[in-house]
Symmetry: C2
Subunit: 161 residues, 2 copies
């Protein structure tokens, strides 16, 4: 797995690591991400959870949002994401929704755990059924939620994503 | 599981469903979310992926971001999230990072699948090891990513989140 990294992949991964280090110095979280299309960097971001008061402001989420704005599309199919650490479940979900098909990373969820981050815990929780998780999940079909998707399915001019 | 829903839970869940329906009419995705603290609605949001050109703009993510801005904190421990549909893995990750401990929802990932959404597929992918997923994961420790968490661990004045 370590052997098939190309020279360009290494360059952009190194850049994501530089961003992570700069972020620590600037009061942000220790994570950096870069999105590349072809041979061009489309977006760069660091973790700004504390700086922005935003639990969703992970480097990968911010890089995806910036790239989408930059390219004016919600589909980043031709892009590669370089990230200093394996994406957490939130960021991995965002990657799937964005259509990004290639991820290059350095540290992983176990390294993150040793640095005090919950990535591994959240991966473990997500794999459980809702009723077995550490947070309370209550499902109710009472208020007629099934009408929502019925309306959606019947809408002719919808943009599917 | 369906029996322990309280009157207030039902009211806010109904509101999230109303938001989802309004969203369809307004050209957004068929999802709505409401965050409540005590007896007060802190934020409301609908899915704006297509409207914002942002694959991360799910109702729950937007509601969490707005609540964090509103309350000036990245910790929403005392809040409840009401959402018209079971959160996808991205949103569930965001929920864990936010500290929200209670979720009330109506439709689930299977209903979402029938309406054309990838929630269930992404849940299945996330449970796999990176090397077994449908997208390419390349790990490289070459560029010295381990320095990042070493710097972080040695930083005295960091804010842990």
């Amino acid at each position: 797995m370590h052997s098939n990294i190309m020279e360009n992949d290494k360059k952009y991964l190194l850049r994501s690591i530089e961003i992570a280090k700069e972020s620590i110095v600037n009061g942000g979280g220790p994570f950096g991400a870069v999105i590349v299309k072809g041979d061009k960097i489309i977006s760069e971001a660091s973790n700004r959870v504390v700086l922005n008061n935003d639990p969703t402001a992970h480097a990968e989420i911010l890089a995806i949002r910036q790239a989408s704005t930059q390219l004016q599309t919600f589909e980043l199919n031709d892009c590669t994401l370089y990230t200093s650490c394996e994406p957490c479940p939130m960021c991995l979900g965002a990657i799937y929704w964005s259509g990004i098909r290639k991820i290059v990373y350095s540290s992983d969820r176990t390294d993150a755990e040793r640095a005090g981050f919950d990535d591994k815990f959240i991966y473990n929780e997500i794999m459980l059924e809702p009723s077995k998780r550490g947070i309370t999940f209550i499902r109710s079909s009472d208020p007629g939620g099934e009408d929502v998707f019925r309306m959606w399915n019947e809408k002719d001019d919808k943009i599917v994503y």
